[in-house]
């Protein structure tokens, strides 16, 4: 489904990704790991067309890199960025509206209802400004906003960073639910225990290049190697 090959990307003259390959399949959680500054967030942005790239980023045969950036979500890519990046001045309902607007025109009311059932806390806060929500609620909203566009590929960049344990469980549960519904999930996650529990595949990048890939089967025996790679 998602096939990235020889991806280079960067900011101005500084090259961050120097030829990365990666794939993600429906019904699987692919975890992307790497030390701070390895280029994980840059890779997510590259998929969304938010940084200058060369190389192929193919989604079901469509070359995303060739599209104008605002067309990428319309191909079915939902993005939950690092640090959440909600529209802080907009209400909860309006943030959801932005997600719905990027998805198919049919069934928006039903999708919205489904999201409010998945995250009941958001229903109580529909008319509150997104910037005034707690950290956990903001993460729920960022996730719901991305799911509103009915993605086939869901990108999550450190979605549990800085959250309370109770919230972390809820967010992980949603990822598992979405995987079981057949979405391709590409997750950036730093916590090894979570990765061992959730991942169907793991790709580690170092300094903008592929370092090592682990299959689900290989993962359980490879915890030590993984820790060494990440320096934790």
């Amino acid at each position: 489904m998602l096939k990235i090959e020889g991806l280079r990307a960067g900011y101005g003259a500084a090259e961050v990704l120097r030829g990365v390959s990666l794939s993600a399949e429906p019904g699987e959680i692919t975890v992307l790991m790497g030390r701070n500054g390895a280029g994980k967030t840059t890779l997510m942005k590259a998929i969304m067309g938010l940084v200058k790239t060369s190389g192929r980023i193919e989604l079901d045969g469509t070359d995303l890199a060739a599209l104008p950036p605002h067309q990428v979500p319309r191909q079915g890519v939902g993005y939950v960025p690092q640090g959440r990046r909600l529209f802080a001045e907009l209400s909860v309902a309006e943030n959801l509206e932005m997600g719905l607007g990027a998805g198919p025109a049919q069934g928006r009311a039903a999708t919205r209802e489904e999201m409010l059932e998945l995250f009941p806390r958001l229903r109580e806060r529909l008319h509150q400004r997104a910037g005034t929500l707690s950290g956990g609620e903001q993460q729920m909203l960022a996730t719901a906003r991305a799911l509103c566009l009915k993605p086939k590929l869901l990108l999550l960049d450190e979605p549990t960073e800085g959250l309370q344990p109770s919230m972390i469980g809820a967010i992980r549960q949603v990822m598992v639910t979405m995987r079981d519904r057949g979405l391709a999930v590409l997750l950036v996650e730093q916590r090894i225990e979570a990765v061992l529990e959730l991942a169907d595949r793991v790709s580690v990048i170092e300094m903008g290049r592929n370092a090592e890939d682990f299959s689900r089967a290989a993962l359980s025996g490879a915890e030590g190697r993984l820790r060494a790679r990440l320096g934790v």
């Binding site: 104008p68 990046r85 001045e89 907009l90 932005m98 906003r145």
Partner: protein
Amino acid sequence: MDFGPYLMLAMLEGAVLAAVLALMASGLSLVFGVMRVVNVAHGEFYMLGAVVAWAVTTLLGAGPVLNFVAALIVAPLVVGAMAAAADMVILKRLNYDPERTIVATIGLLYILQQLTLMTYGADARPVVAPFNERIALPWVEWGDKGLSFYFPWGLSTTSYKLFVIAAAVVLIAALKLFMAKTRAGLIMRATQGDREMATAFGVPVERVYALVFGGGAALAALAGVLIVPIQQAHYLMGGDALLLSFIVVIIGGLGSLSGTIVAAILIGLSDGIISVFFTPTLAKMIATLAVALVLVFRPQGLFGGTSR
């Protein structure tokens, strides 16, 4: 005339200025808010609104009402389209860099001004108001014989000035509703909040910018059309208007529409009152001093950061 009626007259004059200023400054504020572009050429779009209004009424040559209605529709469309084109040709190439767009819009200011001088000329030309009845205003007073009600000599306004105030109120209310309730308004506010995330949710940001820049210019042009029956169209009229708009937008808080409107009312009314009782120069001095004080003690503006 007694002090009371005199003050009321001054406030009416101020209200006309406030109305036009609020309309024009809303455009400046919208462009800055959404695009982070300080549009130094904004005053020229106001001037062009007035000049296009003159051109439309002259070319059409119908009755004053029809002429004016045509100007009110055509001028904002023409000026808005010019601004949107300038956005796509100039500002987009600069990648909307905050500093370089200031320099570029200064250039645009001189280009528009000189082109107007070369084509329209250096004369100030009037546009006939669609209606202009003199309206005497009543005054109520506690005298020795109890409450008395009379029409003081000289306390009057015109139906057109009242229309300008009403038109500005309606247009600004419409703008606020548009921003708060429509999908296009939502997209503009989202783009204002986070351009990159708006893109990640399907917003063609460059198209939004062209529309916002065109819309901001159209608001200035509308203000120009409304003022031209009172003030005449002249190629240099954008300068003072730009200065007052900046004063209003800074006092109100950059990018805050509500703040801009409140500041326009404050500056308009005080300008009217001080001009009538003292001199227009003193009014401008006080407004400039107010900006300096705001910048020193509350740089985010009176309303910046709280309401948007």
